[in-house]
Amino acid sequence: MSPDQDQRRGHDAFLDAVDADDAFYVECSNGHGSLPPRRACPHCGDQQLAERSLPGTGRVQAHTVVHVPTEEFAGRAPYVTAIADFGPVTLTGLVVDSRAEDVENGMTVAVDTDETPEGDTPALVFVPR
């Protein structure tokens, strides 16, 4: 792997980093956050990008209880998918360790990964804090 590629880590590396409690995001020189893989800031086009540590917790902005899932998540339904604001970036995750009816907008969550029932791709999950 070239040094250049090493600095442009992708989605797999992001999930690995989340799993290792070392989650990161990508920041442009104008301070916009985004998620990998990136070669240009999606907000301003700046190509000077650097990895930064993702804040440890975020706040749920919106959530839904999914009753009719895709096949990959059939074993989990009904489950809660939420969008949570982590400051520089916003993430979408499956809320775990909580009853569906206890999830509300504004609640604080941390990010982690979890195997999907199918087991091939880890899912991004939110753990209430």
């Binding site: 209880v65 895709t70 998918t81």
Partner: protein, 388 residues
Amino acid sequence: MSSVRVAGVGLTPFGEHPNRTTRDLFAEAGVAAMADAGVDAEVIDAVYFGNFVGELADAQGHQGPIAAECLGVDAPATRFESACASSGVAVRHAVRAIESGDADVVVVGGAERMTHAGTDAATGMLATAADALYEVSAGMTFPGAYALMTDAYFDAYGGSRRDLAHVAVKNHEHALENEHAQFQFSVSVDDVLDAPTVASPLGLLDACPVTDGASALVLVSETVAREADVTAPVEVTGSGQGTDKIALQDRESLSRTPATETAATEAYEAAGITPADVDVVEVHDCFTSAEVFALEALGLFEAGEAITAARDGTTRRDGDLPVNLSGGLKAKGHPVGATGASQLVEMTRLLRGDHPNSEYVADATTGITHSAGGTVASTTVHVLEECT
């Protein structure tokens, strides 16, 4: 710049056609549009075809050539894929081809076939309109994505499931006499509220059905309309397109849809109209809440105010601003790749007076159509006006 006329329109019945091929569906709609226009295959300069999930549903990519040959047309043919806005985008490019003088006669439309795959597979196919890396991987379904937007809207502006139920009731009512509609039956507010939850707060009757079907229009330049004596009483006077980030999480707001605002601004400017000039509207109501988001982003209602428009009657067929007189995606059905062009088919018939609901818009001269792909990441808006 040449102006663009709608010379002919065609639709298949929307519904379940599990034993028909996509090419046969498009042939039915396209042949009907050519017959309606009174044009033969040899005068057609191009075929623009919208389709979303041909690879997944039919193991068929490369559908441009199929779209031309199924109509007996020998002309350059291109497939457009922009999720649920696929044929809306196809129409936009057909309009630009005629405006620029590149083409005089274009067949544009779309087709989709999904019901044969079953609900689980269709749910998976539709989910591919969302971001595979960061959304679908977290259990997001297509209804789930709109549910998140709806949840954010309720938080920002208020509104209730009951308000949304009135959108479904209205659109089912509008579809009752539409011979192309998948659902020609009425539903009550209680029916909608009592339906099983798909993704809270959206229930089964807040959602459009899975649909097979096809749509087509013959668009011609003003020159052809005049010289070939083609009857084309409706003109496409404005076209606009917008794009947003694919993932909801990367948007400025979860309850606003700026890609629609972008497309509308461009289309209104081209047509020289403002929202106040609009008499009748077809919007992309894949879910009841999607109609609300669209009406606000189109500038027809202030932010937070379209939520009650169906409930108070404003957008019913006998209201001040009839919306989705076709029945909308909600009741007419949503054969994804066909939907955007089908809205122009319905609007053309509404304006020229041969739609089952034309009587409700007898004085209307200006209509707009709005197509949205994914969670409104791809949009088109078209302005149609009756030629005077």
